[in-house]
Symmetry: C2
Subunit: 344 residues, 2 copies
């Protein structure tokens, strides 16, 4: 399987690491031999149609843009070559899209993905932007071009929430979903009552520790959770919605006093993304502390309400570069598996 990697930040680097490291084992386990034939970054690209070796991938990781970008590689570098050109001109089966999230217009990821589809390439992405803004259209475009679109890394990070719903609950019927889908807000809401600090203090602290961005709106205003709700609604509940269909409230107004009052009742307040009775919502909600969904710190959790098996909850780490990279590997294996079945 030949792969074009688009985006070379922490997740992109994680993907090269995991592919290089797991290479031999995977061959043994699944007859799966992934090769990265190109990496495209903002400065240019490196291309080797025979596959970049584990040693070369390691070497590239030492380079630092903008002074020493990967496209300066003496063997395979193509300074200034755009990702779109790489996707169009390099032969490969799959494009792995891991550029930064943009929920205004989803670019450049949206163009990368549509270009990949139009040139007959499957796509694995960890980028919520294109999915949040255009998931129904992207799903249709993939189908039209007879290629697969996979995005495990967008929800739950390393925790396979999407696969769980699709693959493990097939005999049942999912009636509703509730999740704690954002580690940053969960960290803040855990810290506030534990350390007796205000929202603002907890946020500043989370920023110092690297759990929150300097521009924290994406997390604390619930956009990140809302993106994940859109993906779940489309993929799991078959609802054709986008970000604008989600009723969204963030956690800026959650006070220590409210948390204390919830605690008196054995409850706490969490930022919950939900799909219930056909409505997609993100808002702070009071939930019982002994509910399995009620995880603390940067953990993520999701509860599926099913017809026969009742409530099923899945808990795991949220986003992290290696967790997200492992989700990319799962998606590549899934595509490989689907292709194998298609060919027989």
């Amino acid at each position: 399987m030949r792969i074009i990697l688009v985006g070379y930040g922490v997740v992109g680097k994680g993907v090269t690491t995991i592919i290089a490291r797991r290479y031999l084992e995977k061959v043994k386990d699944y007859g799966f031999s992934p090769k990265i034939v190109a990496i495209a970054d903002i400065d240019g690209a490196v291309i080797n149609p025979r596959g970049l070796s584990p040693e070369k991938l390691e070497e590239l990781k030492q380079r630092r843009a903008p002074t020493n970008p990967i496209s300066a590689d003496p063997d395979f570098g193509h300074p200034g070559m755009s990702a779109l050109d790489v996707i169009e001109s390099v032969e490969a089966e799959v494009v792995v899209e891991v550029t930064p999230v943009n929920i205004k217009n989803a670019e450049p990821a949206l163009s990368h993905i549509t270009k990949a589809f139009k040139t007959g390439k499957h796509v694995v992405t960890t980028n919520k932007g294109p999915l949040a803004l255009a998931m129904p259209a992207l799903t249709e475009l993939a189908e039209y071009n007879n290629v697969y679109l996979r995005f495990s890394g967008t929800v739950g990070g390393g925790t396979p929430m999407l696969e769980f719903a699709k693959r493990c609950l097939a005999g049942d019927k999912i009636l509703g979903i509730r999740g704690i889908l954002n580690g940053t807000t969960n960290y803040i809401l855990t810290e506030m009552p534990q350390n007796r600090v205000t929202f603002q203090e907890a946020l500043t602290n989370a920023q110092k520790l690297g759990y929150a961005e300097r521009e924290p709106s994406m997390d604390i205003d619930g956009f990140d959770t809302a993106c994940k709700v859109v993906i779940l609604a489309n993929w799991v509940m078959n609802q054709k919605i986008t970000l604008r269909d989600v009723d969204r409230t963030g956690i800026r107004d959650v006070s220590l006093q409210e948390l204390d009052e919830a605690a008196k009742k054995g409850n706490t307040i969490k930022l919950i993304g939900s799909i219930e009775n056909g409505k997609a919502t993100v808002k702070p909600m009071e939930i019982p502390k002994n509910n399995p969904l009620c995880v603390s710190g940067v953990l993520n959790a999701i509860t599926f309400f099913t017809e026969y098996a009742g409530e099923e909850t899945l808990i795991g780490r949220g986003a992290g570069s290696m967790e997200t990279a492992s989700a990319v590997l799962r998606d590549l294996l899934d595509i490989r598996h689907k292709l194998a079945n298609r060919l027989t």
Copy 2:
């Protein structure tokens, strides 16, 4: 898909209900049309090669053995016909084995399953006995006869723990497993500190409420958990072990005092089944109350320790007749899916 149902207790009845009720929906969702062509119970059988209708299945449910067994049905009854004869003589693709568990010699389930294999039938079972005592041999026999053996209902009841491990963690590597796999013992260990009662009092209470059997050894001495550990070890960790390889301690000796001492440290005591460093163990263990694994009441929970994604925990209801029946449906869908891929 033609099905022979062997065993007609609560799970068996649940299977007929779920198949009758979901029939139309499933046809729509998955092109899957299950038909029960025979039901074999201890008293005899009912057989209709064209499939027992939803109405007939409902009618059979009103009968009560031993005075009014299903085999007395005027249309399709075969009084005294043995399950082995039914499996041998009735044409079907799948045998669903849901007779009572026996961990001494695994009979009669073991004979039913091997007979099914030898006559070319796939098997779905919810019976831990044959798996606990002979899983490596059964797996081989199924492979030799080119049929599938599925058993989702044996671990986690309605919670798809086995599928989760197999299907959702494929890109990762499972290093270890820890689980609360038995609802009865978890109920007792939750009640003791909450209601300030001894082990014996909590057990009596659980028996009154129907959470514990009159002969409770299977649960409280850890046999049930040990069976599940064997199944997980074989299926998920690829270890060829049986019940005798599990180091097992039950909860009879857990005292209220020990629970109180654990509580002082923010911990509690749970009966944990684990596979760590290649060793399969069942024993009461102290775990932190805020660990996701730490569920209360009759819930089940399992944590997979993975190489890349860290700890992933799945929580859901333990065994219940409808939960277990829904697991049977999942297994039937899985076999149907595998057969479809085999044929193309």
